[in-house]
Structure formats: structure tokens, C-alpha cells
């Protein structure tokens, strides 16, 4: 790592290591305090400071003019133009989950698990080597394997951590084959790239290895699962690989991921037609829409890559909003989870939750005026430019997803309120605050998308240039 610390300039403050150490300290403190009422406040406070540190790191990186800056204390992590936005976003998403978690969920184990998941994901985002990336990748599933989110008396699915373990092995195998110390994929041969793509497919839930996510959503703790999934570490791995000069033969393999993502988007949207369980519907919606990210990233088009990078932010924010509202309903109305028949009519008592759900959902499927629209517009444009079939198929998948989303919305919020449902409260202040932030991000970001676009375009340009360079050399 010595050569890295010499080659890459440093942050003026150890903000990344501060984020990680603060989070780990908070985890220890919460474990010591146990089930005390102050633990959530402590976790929220810690998360607020982490967001501050990460924003500071991103600001310092932008001000320095360098593409990447190493943490001065711990050279295993860095902030760069690719990860700075998603680091801050992930911090905010974690805060959202901490605030929105119903009281019955927010146990000491849950808070520790969420904070650990955040720390592991930050480490993955900032990793300066493939080995570090792989370590963070596997560690992020540790809270699930250790049962931090386990509810007594409920059989949780081990699908999530099994998938992560297999993908982690594949990733480590690829790292071993490449034999590089840094985040350099230029030595990747066909087998190493195949292992990398397997890891990406497993982590992102690409067909035919997508079913673990539906099971994790259905028989797992919903909020941590969506937080885990919204790390989109698989997409980041692909971005890291594309950013280095891949050999032409290896680059060709990216097409497999593109087609796999397309197939996943279509397949899951077809699966949803006969699906009624809300949790599975949410899982498949997330998988289907998130697979657009991979389709855009591997499209090889400048527009497609930019669209994918923005869609990443949209999927993360919108799906967290959707799932959080759904979990709030589950807690308020015991029958929601098991309800596969009829309409629950919860909108009559919880109109604000209904609005949050609808706007987040519509942003996810690209309603004009939301950030999802700009993202999908660019993504489809890029996809149509490179592969017209993919562009048209993605349109079909979005249309189907929108229909399923509206079906789910109507099932939860429309219809006559069941007589057995007592008065349920609308969004509480604790819930309203993060959900409003989420909504504002999606709507204001959609009305004025230029700043976000400009930032993401710079990253997309770098990825596209690397891909073009190698394509030109192979010619």
C-alpha cells in the first residue's frame, strides 16, 4: 500500500476513518447500553456526524481538484468522484432507516446491525484494493448472519448471507487470479472476469440468481434488507472494473451482464403479474428497476452510463421510501403482510403515507417531474443508441412495473377500510421528516436535475473514455 499512499494525494482530515471509528464506537456503546431508550438517539447522533464527515470528505475532494484522495490515517480507504455521492447518500439512507424503524424493530441488536452494515458498506465504497472491497462486501452481510435483525419466533431466511458468501468467494477468487494489490482490473483474464460478473450478478440479483432477494424481503427484516440491497455494491464493482482498462476480450463479457440485466427486468416484471404478496412485489420491483442500473452501465453509451448512475440514486432513495412506508403500515395494521386478497383502504386513515408511497413509487418508475424521469430518459436514450432491442424492452419492463406499483398502491391504500382495522395514525413526525426529505430529493432533483446530472456526467465520462480507449486499441 506504500505506493498507493505516495501516488494518491491525501485528504487534509481523516474524515473516512473518523466515520468508521465513530460508527464502530457507537456500536460498542449501544451494545453496552443494551435496550435503553437512548440508544436510538445515540445511533441517530452518530449517523448525523457520519453524514457530516462524509459530506466534508466529498467537499474536500471537489475543492482539491484531484480525482481521488486517500484517508491520511488509514490508507485502505479513499474518497473519489465515483463514490463521494453514494457515500453521502448511503449515510442519509441509513439515517432514514434509523428514524423510520418502528419501535418494535429498533432494538439494540437492530441498531448495531444497521450501523455495522453502514460501516461495512462505507468501507466497500472506499476500498482501495479488490481485497478490501471483497472484505467490506462480505462484512456487510455479517449482521444478517449473526442474527442482529432476528425477530423471536420468526424463521428468517438465510438466503441473503448465503448469496453474499458465495459472491464473496467468487470476488476473492477473481482478486486472487488477477493478483493486483490495488483496484486495478486490467490484468483480469476471462476466468477472473467471469468470477467478477458472477459476484455482481449474485449481489444484484440478476437472473437466474435473483430469487434470494425475494426470499430475504419476504422472510427477513425488511428495513435492513432494503438498506443492504441499496448499497448496490455489485454496480459499484462493475463501475470500478469499467473504469480501468479492461482487455477487449474481457470487455466483451460486459454484454452478458447487459443482457442478463435486461432479462431480469423483464422476467421479474412478468413474475409480478401473478404475485400478490406485498413484500415479494416490493422485492421484485426493486430488482427489476435496479437491474436498469446494470443495463445502463454495461450499455457502453455515455448517455446510458450517466442515466444508470442517476438511476442508482433514484432506486436507492425511492425504494427506501417505499419499503419504509410499507413497514410502517405493517406495524400499524397486523393483517397487511398476510393480506393477499381485496383492498385494505388504509389511505382513508393514512393519506400522507399514501402520498409518500405513491410519489416514491412513481419516481421509481420515472414519472415526469421526478429525478427518475431524467434518469430513465438518459438511460433509455443510451440503451436505444447502443442496442435498440434493449431500449424497447426496458420501456416494456418499466410500463409493467408501473402497473404493478399501482396495483400494490391500490391494494394497500384504496378500497373500503376493513371493519377490523382500528384507527391507525397517519405519518408520525419522526416518519414525516425523513420521508419528506426523500420526497424533496426525488421531486426537487427532478425539477432541477442539472446539478446532479453534471456531477454524475463527469464520472460517466471517465468510464466511457476508459471503455472507448480499449475499444479503439482493439481495433
Amino acid at each position: 500500500m506504500t505506493h498507493l499512499s505516495e501516488a494518491i494525494p491525501h485528504l487534509s482530515l481523516p474524515l473516512l476513518s473518523a466515520t468508521l471509528s465513530f460508527t464502530m464506537a457507537a456500536c460498542v456503546l449501544i451494545l453496552v447500553l443494551g435496550g435503553s431508550g437512548a440508544t436510538r438517539a445515540l445511533a441517530v447522533l452518530c449517523q448525523l456526524s457520519s453524514i457530516g464527515f462524509l459530506t466534508g470528505a466529498a467537499w474536500l475532494r471537489a475543492r482539491s481538484g484531484h480525482n481521488e484522495l486517500l484517508d491520511p490515517l488509514w490508507h485502505q480507504v479513499k474518497v473519489d468522484s465515483v463514490n463521494e455521492a453514494i457515500l453521502v447518500l448511503y449515510g442519509v439512507l441509513t439515517l432514514t432507516i434509523l428514524l423510520l424503524a418502528p419501535r418494535r424493530d429498533a432494538t439494540g441488536g437492530f441498531l448495531v446491525g444497521v450501523l455495522f452494515l453502514f460501516a461495512a458498506t462505507v468501507f466497500t465504497y472506499g476500498a482501495t484494493s479488490v481485497a478490501g472491497f471483497g472484505a467490506g462486501w462480505v462484512l456487510s452481510a455479517l449482521p444478517f448472519a449473526l442474527g442482529c435483525f432476528r425477530t423471536p419466533g420468526v424463521a428468517h431466511s438465510p438466503a441473503l448471507w448465503i448469496a453474499v458468501a458465495i459472491s464473496g468467494v467468487a470476488l476473492m477468487g477473481a482478486a486472487g487470479l488477477m493478483g493486483t494489490s490495488g483496484m486495478d482490473f486490467s490484468h483480469a483474464n476471462g476466468l477472473a472476469m467471469a468470477l467478477l460478473l458472477l459476484a455482481v450478478a449474485l449481489r444484484k440479483g440478476i437472473f437466474p440468481v435473483h430469487s434470494w432477494l425475494a426470499q430475504a424481503f419476504e422472510r427477513g427484516s425488511l428495513l435492513p434488507t432494503v438498506l443492504f440491497y441499496n448499497g448496490h455494491c455489485g454496480a459499484l464493482l462493475l463501475v470500478r472494473a469499467e473504469s480501468t482498462h479492461l482487455e477487449a476480450v474481457v470487455q466483451q463479457m460486459l454484454h452478458y451482464i447487459c443482457w442478463g440485466a435486461l432479462l431480469t427486468a423483464l422476467y421479474t416484471s412478468f413474475l409480478m403479474i401473478a404475485e400478490r404478496k406485498p413484500r415479494r412485489l416490493l422485492a421484485m420491483l426493486c430488482v427489476s428497476q435496479a437491474s436498469f442500473i446494470l443495463a445502463g452501465l454495461s450499455s457502453g453509451s455515455h448517455y446510458g452510463i450517466t442515466g444508470a448512475l442517476i438511476h442508482w440514486l433514484v432506486v436507492a432513495a425511492a425504494s427506501t421510501g417505499l419499503v419504509s412506508v410499507y413497514r410502517a403500515l405493517e406495524v400499524r395494521c397486523a393483517g397487511v403482510e398476510r393480506s393477499t386478497e381485496g383492498h385494505l383502504g388504509l389511505g382513508a386513515h393514512a393519506p400522507r403515507l399514501a402520498v409518500f408511497f405513491l410519489v416514491c413509487g412513481l419516481a421509481l418508475v420515472g414519472l415526469p417531474g421526478t429525478l427518475g424521469y431524467s434518469a430513465e430518459d438518459l438511460l433509455f436514450h443510451g440503451a436505444l443508441e447502443s442496442q435498440p432491442v434493449i431500449g424497447v424492452a426496458l420501456h416494456l419492463a418499466t410500463a409493467l412495473n408501473a402497473i404493478h406499483l399501482f396495483r400494490l398502491f391500490s391494494r394497500l391504500f384504496l378500497g373500503r377500510l376493513a371493519s377490523e382495522v382500528a384507527e391507525i395514525p397517519d405519518a408520525l413526525f419522526r416518519e414525516r421528516l425523513p420521508l419528506t426529505m426523500c420526497l424533496l430529493f426525488l421531486v426537487v432533483g427532478g425539477l432541477i436535475p442539472a446539478p446532479i446530472l453534471r456531477h454524475r456526467e463527469a464520472v460517466a465520462q471517465r468510464i466511457h473514455a476508459a471503455l472507448e480507449h480499449e475499444a479503439a486499441q482493439s481495433h
Binding site: 438466503a159 430469487s211 412478468f270 403479474i273 401473478a274 412513481l362 430518459d377 420501456h395 391494494r411 446530472l453
Partner: protein, 464 residues
């Protein structure tokens, strides 16, 4: 950016409803209850202002002999060569539509003040009407196909939310899902058309595709690919105007409150499709395939819809098929190149149909009054032409009309059921590895039950 007084009026016209919508929505999210008087007064002032603004703009255009007013607001977003142009244009085609929109939405808002008095969804209705007005104005004043699509989608989503307005009943909710599904599938055509326009012609601006001033416009582009673009846009228009392959959703949309039925399905929303085909008429001149498709769709829909209209037993469903018939005639007129006739037809149809929809709740009452006033001497009508048709054919046509042209049966059996079946099969063979499984194990019959919200019953006659 100096956009001049005309430009300022135009921008103000378009964004004013959006600003009111956003302000009211934010206040409501913060806990405001949405008092009826305040909401109605603000909406009233808004549409009064919009009507005056449209009047002033029209006056200035006539006075200064301006065939059109355009405002360039730059790009909404842009990457490399690709941008989403924000250009608003009002010309002889869009100005009447803008005028009709602001006047009729204002009138319907006034009507709804009493109609929805003390309704729990009062605020929701007015918010949706404001969003709808914004979407419509954006659609009609869009200077590019991209911006038109944004307005198009907003009109669609507000329309669906208003169909499901009385959500405590099952039918409105099911019909809202069905209409939404139809809209989304039709919208694929316009989405693909937008991207193809950029791909083939490098721009989505109307001025890049069409030259001259309406109604003397010419196509600025050509080539065989124009047929594909034309057909896609015609199909998208069919989705919005309930024509051809997307015929059949309009009666389902009658589940919404009568004022929204009037403004959406009697007046503005269904005519958005007709507006689109009028807008692209110069392109159709160079795209014969698209023109013939439009003509075929117009004629076939007119025949079937008028047959069905004659068998309808409730007012709103009858009016919806009557609307569909007139829209089909408008489509045919456009396909024949009679643009001015089509424009006048739209204006007249919008006014008459809105009045009919708004009077629909009191139609039975009025008929009884008329019946009593005439001493019970109201004669039967409409049997002259029927008598010219052979009896067997009469019966067959009656059956066809009564079953709504078998449209729902065809769609349910040939489109939805196979998709549901395929989905059920996929669910059954869904991988069950990694930690056991619990995918939905639906048999075919169960799957049909499961997708009940897509395969709705035929009982969609709207209550008056």
C-alpha cells in the same frame, strides 16, 4: 433571458397551476386541513387569472399578427449532444386548446365546489385538477415532443387517480388499474417515438420536424423511417383517445366524479390524442402507412363505438361511447387532411360534451319533467335507419353492441389470460434454491383469481 411580454404570459399560464398545486400540497403535508372555502377561492382566482391571461395573449397575437409565440427556456437537462429542450409554443392550433382548457377546468372547478361539498376527498380532487391543468397546458404548449410527453404522462396519472377517487367502492379501483395499464402500454409508443425522433432526426423539437405555421405546415423530415415514427405516434394518440387497439377503457373511466368525467373524458384529456394527430398531420403527409393506419383506426372505431352507444343503458357510459365515436370521426378527418374541420370539430365537441356530462346527473329528472310537461307524449326515436338493416344482421349488430364489441372478452382472453398464465408458470418454476422457497404457487385458476385486478368483470357501467 429576455422572453418578452408574450413569453412571460405564456410561461405564467403554464406554471401557475403547478405552483398552486405545490403550495397546497406542501401545506397539506405539513398538517394543513385544506378548508373548502380557501381551496375553492384559490382555484377560482387561479383559473380566472389564467382565462384573462389567455385572452390577453390571444388579443396580442391577433393585434400584432403573430402566427405563434415561442419561448426558449434552455434545456431541462443536457448531456453531450442530447438535451431535453424546454420550449413553449402557442400557435393557431394550441391556442384554442389552451383557451378551452383554462375555461373548462375553471368552470368544472366552480361546478365541483357544490358537487363535492363536504366530500372527504374535496382537497384531493382540487389538487388533482390543478395538476391536471398543468399537465394539459404543458402538453398543448409543448414546443417539442419531449415536453409533450411530460404533460402527457401527468394528464394520464391524474386521470387514473380521479377514476379511483371513490376508492371505498371496488369497481372504481379495479377500473383505475385497468385504465392505468392501458395508458402505460400505449405510452410505450410515445416514449419510443421520442427516442427515435432524437435518434433519426437529432431533435425532438416540432420546429425541427415540421416547418411553417399551422395550418400550412410541411414536414421537414422524410424517409421510410417516418412511417414508423408516425405509426407509433398514432398508436400513442389512440391510447389517450380510446381508439383502435386501446378502445374500451373510456367507459371504465366513468367511475370518477362527474365533474372529472366531464373535463377528462368529455373535454380535454381524450382530445389530447386528437391534438397530437393534428400536430403531426404534416408528418403524416410524408408517411402514407401511418396515415392509412390512422384512417383505418378512425373508421373502424367510429362504426363500433356508435353501435355500442346505441345499446348503452346508462347515461355516462352512453356519453363515453358517443365521445369515442366523435373522436374517431376527428381522427378520420385528420387522416384525410381536413385539419381545420378537425379543429372546429374538436372545439364544438369539447363544449357540447362537457355540458352533457355536467348535466348527466340530472338527466333522468329532466326527462321526467319533460315527460310530464308533454303529457306523456314523447315518441320513440331512432328506428328509421335500423329498419333498413336485415333483421338477422340487426340482431347480430345488437349483440355486438351489447357486448361492447367483444373488446373486453378479447383482451381478457388473448392478452391478459396468457400473460397471467405465463406468470403463474414462471412462478411455479421459479428457482427454489438458497434457503428454501416460498414463491407464489399459483395454479392457472388461482392465477386468474390473483390477477383479478387486471381481469375485471364486465360490470363497469358507471353510476350517474
Amino acid at each position: 433571458m429576455d422572453i418578452g411580454l408574450n413569453g412571460q404570459i405564456l410561461v405564467g399560464l403554464v406554471i401557475a397551476p403547478a405552483l398552486l398545486f405545490l403550495a397546497l400540497a406542501v401545506f397539506w403535508l405539513l398538517g394543513w386541513k385544506g378548508q373548502e372555502k380557501i381551496v375553492c377561492a384559490l382555484t377560482g382566482f387561479l383559473f380566472l387569472g389564467l382565462t384573462l391571461g389567455t385572452g390577453v395573449l390571444a388579443f396580442r397575437m391577433v393585434r400584432h399578427r403573430l402566427p405563434s409565440v415561442s419561448v426558449d427556456l434552455g434545456n431541462w437537462f443536457a448531456i453531450g449532444d442530447y438535451g431535453f429542450p424546454l420550449r413553449l409554443t402557442v400557435d393557431r392550433l394550441s391556442l384554442p386548446m389552451v383557451g378551452l382548457t383554462v375555461v373548462l377546468v375553471g368552470l368544472v372547478g366552480k361546478f365541483s365546489t357544490l358537487y363535492l361539498h363536504r366530500d372527504p376527498g374535496h382537497l384531493r380532487f382540487f389538487l388533482l385538477i390543478q395538476l391536471y391543468a398543468f399537465g394539459s397546458l404543458l402538453l398543448f404548449t409543448a414546443g417539442s415532443i419531449d415536453l409533450l410527453m411530460a404533460g402527457w404522462e401527468l394528464v394520464g396519472i391524474t386521470s387514473v387517480l380521479l377514476i379511483g377517487f371513490f376508492s371505498y367502492r371496488r369497481e372504481p379501483v379495479l377500473n383505475a388499474i385497468r385504465v392505468f395499464a392501458t395508458y402505460r402500454l400505449a405510452d410505450i409508443c410515445i416514449l419510443v417515438a421520442v427516442f427515435l425522433a432524437h435518434h433519426w432526426y437529432g431533435s425532438g423539437l416540432w420546429s425541427a420536424l415540421i416547418t411553417g405555421e399551422w395550418p400550412m405546415q410541411k414536414s421537414a423530415v422524410g424517409g421510410p423511417e417516418l412511417n414508423i415514427l408516425g405509426v407509433l405516434l398514432v398508436l400513442a394518440a389512440c391510447g389517450k383517445s380510446s381508439q383502435g387497439p386501446f378502445f374500451g377503457w373510456l367507459p371504465r373511466a366513468m367511475e370518477g366524479p362527474t365533474p372529472s368525467s366531464a373535463i377528462f373524458y368529455g373535454a380535454i384529456s381524450v382530445h389530447a390524442g386528437a391534438y397530437l394527430v393534428l400536430r403531426i398531420e404534416p408528418l403524416l403527409e410524408s408517411a402514407p402507412v401511418a396515415r392509412y393506419v390512422l384512417m383505418a383506426i378512425g373508421i373502424s372505431t367510429a362504426v363500433v363505438a356508435t353501435l355500442i352507444h346505441r345499446t348503452c343503458t346508462d347515461v355516462k357510459t352512453g356519453l363515453s361511447y358517443a365521445s369515442m365515436t366523435q373522436l374517431a370521426v376527428i381522427f378520420t378527418e385528420v387522416s384525410l387532411g381536413w385539419t381545420m374541420v378537425a379543429m372546429l370539430h374538436i372545439a364544438g365537441h369539447v363544449a357540447v360534451r362537457t355540458a352533457q356530462f355536467l348535466r348527466a346527473p340530472s338527466m333522468l329528472h329532466e326527462y321526467r319533467q319533460l315527460h310530464a310537461a308533454s303529457g306523456g307524449q314523447i315518441g320513440e326515436t331512432g328506428e328509421h335507419y335500423e329498419a333498413l338493416v336485415p333483421h338477422k344482421l340487426q340482431l347480430w349488430l345488437y349483440g355486438l353492441g351489447l357486448d361492447r364489441g367483444h373488446y373486453d372478452a378479447i383482451v381478457d382472453r388473448l392478452v391478459i389470460a396468457p400473460m397471467v398464465c405465463l406468470s403463474a408458470v414462471l412462478n411455479r418454476i421459479e428457482p427454489t434454491w438458497m434457503g428454501g422457497s416460498s414463491p407464489a404457487k399459483a395454479s392457472k385458476s388461482e392465477a386468474e383469481e390473483v390477477a383479478g385486478d387486471l381481469v375485471t368483470e364486465n360490470s363497469h357501467d358507471a353510476p350517474v
